[in-house]
């Protein structure tokens, strides 16, 4: 990826810092629950940070601003990685996160749009996300709104049949205002996607469904910014999918690429090691 002069070093450093914060907060919150999605949140930490600190248009003081960009987590189990960012950008006070997974808390493993400011749609049933995005993108068309709808999906999510109903429908409805982001971290709960239920070739599948396909390293902040900065115009007719090559558990050496860490719990010693590695950064 060529360097893009318009992206300042400060911006890139900020996003890297926020991705680090997302990972550290993920560890802190899961340590409260003693079970949670580390690997699949770490794999999209840079994607989350790039979206919230560069791409998305939103107003934390007016979370339901009708013209805001929408962000849907098809892979809702990564919500733990987003909560700290929503607090950091001002949707709610950070100490609200201390209730994570407590009885009646707004903050659980999967996000609830009616309980958490800044969450555009509740999720938890893998495969719904892109369909919700199709609906939101259609609404923008009906209303003449210029917002974009972004949907984060896992590569495992591509195993769900409904996903392909949605993939088929978006170009049919000419939804150039819809952007799918595939966090291709290559693992699911039970194993490695390629072996368990091979979803490859991902790129060719989306191309054959008539999407504009972009591939990018999902941990390269500069490349992510460049990709999002060069999306086709909102009023274009072809939806875009950004296939992000990512590493499950990214940032903690002993977690990287291990499906065992998709849902797990770090004991005290391992937690210290993980925090050290994330703080050291790479």
């Amino acid at each position: 990826m060529n360097s893009v002069p318009s992206i300042s070093k400060e911006k890139i450093d900020l996003i890297k810092e926020k991705a680090k914060m997302s990972r550290l907060e993920t560890i802190r919150l899961i340590s409260k629950a003693k079970s949670g999605h580390y690997g699949s949140s770490f794999s999209c930490a840079e994607i989350f940070a790039t979206l919230y600190y560069h791409v998305l248009r939103y107003d934390p003081k007016n979370p339901k601003w009708p013209s805001r960009d929408r962000f849907i987590m098809g892979k809702g189990h990564s919500a733990v990685g987003v909560y700290s960012i929503l607090a950091d950008v001002g949707f709610f006070p950070k100490d609200e996160l201390d209730t994570y997974t407590d009885l009646g808390s707004a903050f659980g493993d999967h996000p609830d749009m009616n309980k958490i400011k800044g969450i555009d749609f509740s999720s938890g049933s893998i495969g719904h996300g892109l369909s919700v995005g199709v609906g939101m993108a259609l609404a923008a068309r009906v209303d003449g709104e210029k917002y974009r709808t972004f949907v984060l999906m896992g590569d495992g999510e591509l195993e769900e049949g409904q996903t392909w109903e949605a993939v088929m429908s978006a170009p049919n409805f000419k939804l150039g205002n819809l952007v799918a982001i595939v966090d291709n971290n290559k693992v699911t709960v039970d194993g490695v996607t390629k072996k368990l239920m091979n979803v490859n070739p991902i790129k060719e599948k989306w191309e054959s469904f008539r999407w504009n396909v972009v591939e990018v390293n999902g941990h390269d902040v500069e490349a992510l910014i460049d990709t999002f900065d060069h999306l086709p115009p909102v009023d274009s007719e072809v939806p875009t999918v950004i296939i992000c090559d990512t590493v499950a558990g990214k940032g903690v050496s002993f977690m990287e690429n291990g499906f065992e860490w998709h849902v797990a719990y770090l004991g005290e010693d391992d937690m210290k090691k993980a925090i050290e590695e994330i703080e050291r950064g790479n």
Partner: protein, 331 residues
């Protein structure tokens, strides 16, 4: 609104039958409301014409979306539309809506409490010989058990139109409308009973002293016919149109139990989990003494046949209901 037809009762040809599906008023009602309510959008899944929601699409093509044969995507996209303030009306056959897309309705519509209106048509055994796969005798039970959900089975096209209008103008939360194939004789309207159908409020259509028949959907009209027949036997029957199954008009049920001491529920649905179950729950918890029977499909997969004969077979026509009621009272 009386249906006039030159067709023999055996005849059911899809496109000809569309002209006869006059009680499927979703599309025309939405077309009428569409200018005043820009928040209305409509979605279908390759059954826009048989469900007649296409009537809205003809007038508002930019607010009408045909999703092809992909109900899960359609229902979930409707939820996305609703999250932006739209009131999406989704219509397809009930077997592909309340049953096939049940998880999408539960997770994407009912749980977030969104203003999606689902209109499942050709419910119960209305699809006749098209196959048991196309019958929907579980959709009340499924949707009724979803929190936030309102479940309505209107007696005819007038009732459907009135409650659709109410749902657009004043009602909050998701609704599952359960309607038949639209070829049935109407209960309400210019030629029928003049009652304004209101969500959650049952209509007492006939007052009797010996028995109350509580029905929903097209069985309301059959219950009225049954009441006529029962009068010939010297049995005086009340008839209640319990169009809203959830939230149930509890007071109406309790009044009926006190007034007649015997209740028969009638629905084209499995007797497990439907209108009969909802009424039974109220009666048991109230502690009133009342004879009670559920009539419908008796926990089996319905056989196929032309609808006219199928309703007869299951004693879901006027004569059949009268016969069931008579035996019930003799017990």
């Amino acid at each position: 609104m009386t249906v006039h037809t030159d067709f023999h009762k055996d005849t059911w040809e899809l496109y000809k039958s569309l002209e006869m599906a006059k009680q499927l008023t979703t599309g025309e009602t939405l077309a009428r409301l569409g200018d005043e309510h820009p928040e209305i959008v409509a979605l279908c899944a390759d059954l826009g014409k048989p469900t007649r929601i296409y009537e809205f699409g003809k007038k508002f093509p930019d607010r009408f979306f045909n999703f092809g044969i992909a109900e899960k995507n359609m229902v979930t996209a409707a939820a996305g539309l609703a999250s932006t303030g739209k009131i999406p009306f989704v219509s397809t056959y009930a077997s592909f809506l309340g049953i096939l897309a049940a998880e999408n309705i539960r997770t994407a519509v009912a749980y977030p409490n969104l203003n999606v209106r689902l209109v499942g048509t050709h419910t119960g055994i209305a699809m006749g010989f098209y196959g048991s796969s196309h019958h929907a005798t579980e959709d009340i039970a499924i949707t009724r058990s979803m929190a936030n959900m309102t479940v309505i089975s209107p007696a005819d096209g007038t009732a459907l139109a009135e409650m659709i209008e109410e749902s657009v103008k004043t009602y909050q939360g998701p609704i599952y409308f359960r309607v038949s194939r639209g070829r049935e004789e109407p209960v309400y309207g210019t030629d029928g009973v003049k009652v304004k159908n209101k969500i959650g409020k049952a209509n007492v259509l006939r007052q009797g002293t010996d028995l109350t028949i509580i029905a929903c959907g097209i069985e309301v009209n059959e219950a009225l016919k049954a009441a006529d027949k029962l009068a010939d036997y010297g049995i005086s029957a009340s008839v209640i149109d319990m169009h809203t199954i959830k939230p149930l008009d509890i007071n109406c049920v309790l009044d009926a139990s006190k007034n007649t001491g015997a209740i028969l529920t009638v629905e084209e649905h499995n007797i497990v989990g439907g209108l009969g179950s909802a009424v039974a729950e109220v009666l048991m918890e109230s502690g009133v003494q009342c004879k009670f029977k559920r009539h419908g499909i008796y926990d089996q997969y319905s056989i196929i046949g032309k609808p006219y004969y199928l309703y007869q077979h299951y004693q879901l026509d006027g004569d059949g209901i009268a016969s069931v009621a008579k035996k019930f009272l003799e017990k």
